[in-house]
Amino acid sequence: MAFHKINVIVNGKDEQVMVSSNMTLMRMLRECLALTGTKNGCSAGECGSCTVLINGEPVNSCMVLAAECDGAEIITVEGLAGDKQLDPIQETIIEAGGVQCGFCTPGILISSRALLNRNPNPSEDEIREALVGNLCRCTGYLRIIESVKAAARR
């Protein structure tokens, strides 16, 4: 197995990481950088729990090899909040009751942030479309959709 030294900016911080050729970005974040907020729900790109932003785009990090990310800027759920200030979507998802077990929540937050970045005033259908790849088994989604609407208003 070959190893690669890569440079990435994760949540605004420069990181140099040694990764094997077959290591996914999800594993790199969780195992090399201890950023365990990014969750492993299926390792198959189907549940969305491991969604992160790569250069601003939401991506299932279990479907990307870490070695491919050399030079990339990555945002995980740990990077959403500012110094002491939560991202509006983090506040509204608590207020609207869009969090239950919390396992899908990091991926939902990242997908929502990506949507709001490219479309600050999404319609309900646009919100549903943007989150269709993020499975949630607890909430029934409506409170999550409400929280994205509320975040857009802030």
Binding site: K39, E78, Q100, C101
Partner: protein
Amino acid sequence: MAESDPINAPSPVGENKPRIDGREKVTGAAIFADDLQFGNALLYARIKRSPHPHALIKRLDISKARALPGVKAVVTGEDFTGYIGLYLQDRYIFCRDRVRYVGDPVAGVAAISDEIAYQALELIDVEYEVLEPVLDPEFGASSQALLLHPDLGKYVVANFIFPKEGTNVSNHFKIRRGDVDGAWDKCAAVIERKYRIPHIQHVPIEPHVAIAKMDEAGEITLWASSQSPFAQRNLIAQAIGVLPGKLRVIAPLVGGGFGGKAGVSMEALAVAIATKVKGRPVKLLLTREEEFYTAFVRQGLVAYFKMGCDEKGHLMAMENKFYWDGGAYTEYGVNITRAAGYSSSGPYEVPNVKTDSYCVYTNHPVGGPMRGFGMPEMHAGLEQCIDELAQQIGMDAVEFRKINCLKTGSTLVTGSKMHPTGLLQCIEKTAEAIGWDKKTSPSAPNKRRGKGLALMWKAPAMPPNAGSSAWVELVEDGTLNVGIGGQDIGQGVFTVAAQMAAAALGVPYESVRIATPVDTRYSPYEWQTVASRLTWSMGNAVVNAARDARQQILTTVAEAWEESLEDLDIVDGVVISYKSEKEIPLKNLVIYGLPKPDGQGWRGGPVVGRGNFMPTYITGLDKETGQGEQAVVHYTTGAQAVELEVDLDTGRIEILRGVSTYDVGKAINPEFVKAQMDGGFVQGMSSALFENLQLSNGVVQNPSFVDYRIATTTDAPKDLQSFIVEVPQDDGPWGARGIGEHSMVPTIPAIANAIYNAIGIRFEGPPFTAEKVYLAMLDAGMIK
């Protein structure tokens, strides 16, 4: 808003407090079991599984796997001879002589990397003698079927479960009430129906994970995503032959449970392997594929209903036969069969009932508890029959339900009396909100629109003496640590426990923290986080603990101030006297007590309150008749209605609106109650429209999120309304009873009834997929 508020509860009970674990869950700080870091000592476990649904193990050779560099242990059934199981001990940790489902664990490997563990599995050589599998529960119950558990008669079993030795029936629950055979002649209408409810999977987004470690002294620690740390301590310890006190279970947050992480499933495998590599943590993380067929599944059901009513619409008789597809091991599933039996009338008063509920071994995945515990499956058919019967005598289905539904004091199918219930209010509110009397037009010419409604009831299904305990401890700053053994699986019980502790002691909600993670060495005992029982049972324990602490504090202050207890109170963390108008903040006395005057000494001391709760009033039911004084602690009742459209061009069903109303006794946190109703509705909808664990010769055909579809954002209805009715539970904290599971019980029949209302077609069972609906419309000549 609550419909009524008969109990005057102190703040913050009844208030919509924010989720206590909200901030950690939105920042990525929340720790789940797979997030724990174990460093380089960690070993990775993988499981060699049976490829056959039914076979004898003729030869098992692990020598090559053991010789692979990097492999630290290979274990098999040879190493562990003990049985395991919650209500019926019918499982080995690893198969010993026989495999009974595709996925049955045959051997386990621990290696220094996941890759090596997988390689080792390939080197394990197993020779099988393949046997005829049992793939249908009705056939399985017959004398023609091969016996899957020849030792059934020897298994250790709870005294309310009745296995039939020499058959595949691991529990036969009977109701014999009144004279069913004599009742049919008096009926103006009688219908008979058969339903087939498929297996489904819980699909928590977090897969099962367990990490186990045995130290040199033989003490074992298990970290697991678990609804049942205490039950796991007891059952796993017994099975591997150590005392329960030697096994410590630490249970971080659970990423969705729905029953699938209750009892014991894969956790025993990790512990068993860890005992062979002392000092090293061993991690077993199920793949999503394994999750679908080696974790518990919801049992399949073949159900026969016969029911009749008189010309005025009074239900006269029911005759039910349930064949539960319990799978290879029914250690937990036997009690689902029982619960369905003692609830088999549905939420109705019926004078004559005969029920036979059979739990049947098959060579399918292991059936276990899932949200609703048999009730969604049973109500799916029963609540359609109610609609059909009403239609046959020309009565409105809501009117029919109002006449027959359980009211306070109604006689139940087990012979006991119904406690105070708001079921009638639930029906009325639901019917009103869905606009039952108004016909609405379809949104397009190629659509048909329909409405449907269904009722439900469900009791916590558990041993009669399932207990809870709690402690509260005050800190130097006057804040409160609350110890509980119940688990937050998303339902919000940590928040609700904090609200109840705050209210009972008299401190602000913000000053309460829950002592997590649940750890069997430090947390107080809790039977399991199941049965929608925590708000009620653990809630009582928390309240008792907080009141105990309150009593200690007030006694100290009363002595110090030479006042009587009745004049003292604790408000917002301050002890006050209504008589002398003195006050003292809790922080000034809860650790160091209070000085006696003139340096004469001290009184009081560190305050720790303790409380417990266990129902003491549950009686057994007669084995032959299912009759008894009090079978269960209580029933939560409720109703759901839907409005939907069927697309004639595609068969696709769109749920336009959903309405839920439940009598929860008292909503400790009303928004959390509604969140359960919303989430349960969508999970129920998903099971009605999409979900089916497709089994072919015992092999699950669709073990992935692509092939096993669950509801997504685009499937959720645009409009969900949830209403709370509060008729208090006499032994619940401020009257509360459970809601978690109930929210998905009536959804399948409500949707089925609405489909019938729209297109006049009924189905043998869910899922009502577009394909199935389209083909049925074609068959019926509705479309060409």
